[in-house]
Symmetry: C2
Subunit: 196 residues, 2 copies
């Protein structure tokens, strides 16, 4: 696109965003430079600022700008429960249910041998240490119900077995509001097995 090196470099950098191919990257670069340089500058500043200031909570590994995140620092929460999730977005989903008052451990990923993501990458040693702390009674495994999420939950359950904790998993079942006719058979089968 045109003869500018600055533009080619920008298209290349935008292509580094997940889900953005060369066509989208070119369209984004054109839009920013032709119609919205203010957004381009805001994005540049937001990126620099986030890279400089966002790090991981020492207790739960989620993103924070402090040593310890607001959730971990909240004395009013139930420190006897630890809910293990894959990402901050998953943590946010559990929070929004308004039904959980315990603490979290955020893996910031999931075991994925094919992508070279092993126990170290998702902080399992740290989780083991965290789970050994006095006062903790239950670890709830809330990784996703995908093949990798299930495998991750299984590995963590095995790891925590010897600690004398209650290790639970979110129930599988039929989503609220759905009609059985339209629910996939695997889900119905799991709901039968996990019936209350």
């Amino acid at each position: 696109m045109a003869d500018t090196h600055a533009l080619a470099t920008l298209v290349q950098a935008l292509k580094g965003l997940p889900g953005v191919g060369v066509k989208s990257a070119s369209r984004m670069a054109f839009h920013l430079l032709q119609h919205d340089r203010a957004t381009a500058m805001q994005l540049a500043q937001a990126l620099s600022h986030a890279v400089a200031h966002v790090r991981h909570c020492e207790r739960c590994h989620t993103f924070t700008e402090a040593d310890i995140c607001d959730t971990c620092a909240d004395a009013s929460r139930d420190h006897s429960q630890l809910c293990v999730v894959e990402t901050p977005a998953d943590q946010s989903a559990v929070e929004r249910t308004g039904t959980y008052r315990g603490l979290y451990f955020v893996l910031m990923g999931k075991l994925s041998p094919l992508d070279g993501i092993g126990p170290h990458d998702i902080g399992l040693a740290k989780l083991r240490q965290r789970a050994s702390e006095e006062g903790l009674r239950e670890v709830i495994l809330a990784t996703n119900f995908t093949a990798e999420g299930e495998a991750t939950a299984h590995v963590i359950a095995e790891m925590l077995k010897s600690l004398g904790l209650r290790v639970t998993r979110l129930a599988r079942g039929v989503p609220a509001g759905s009609e059985l006719e339209y629910v996939d058979l695997g889900t119905i089968a799991h709901a039968l097995v996990d019936r209350r």
Copy 2:
């Protein structure tokens, strides 16, 4: 997502990119901060650099870092022909055919009354002045074959009528390599009208 203001600001800025909603923006922010801070820094720098250095060619309006772009400055090109395109990407498509050796005028958009884009926004006064220069014999209208591209071509053709130039339009027709059976009827109708 988590409790950091820097992260929320970054998600908001990424949402400013065309075609990026809040879900994609969150996924991008997570990916950059968790797995690829080098790309985040490169993107920040590429944005700042492009905003600071990319401007418009004084002759053809395309993006350039100099006063006049390489194409306009190329004395070996045919200065008697001017091809009018909507974007640098369209210019690049015409260039890649290897069949055109004239100059360009890049509108950097198209007439679009509903979006508030009028003649001034696509530099029509500049184009008129450019088309009046000595030595120019032909203006080829290569705007897109969409409703807005056709309307833009029509307005430009009307504007240049009085200048005594040859004003031509890219031929509409059946795409090379296609089977008539699968070509839409409007395209076949146009190919019949424009038959050689």
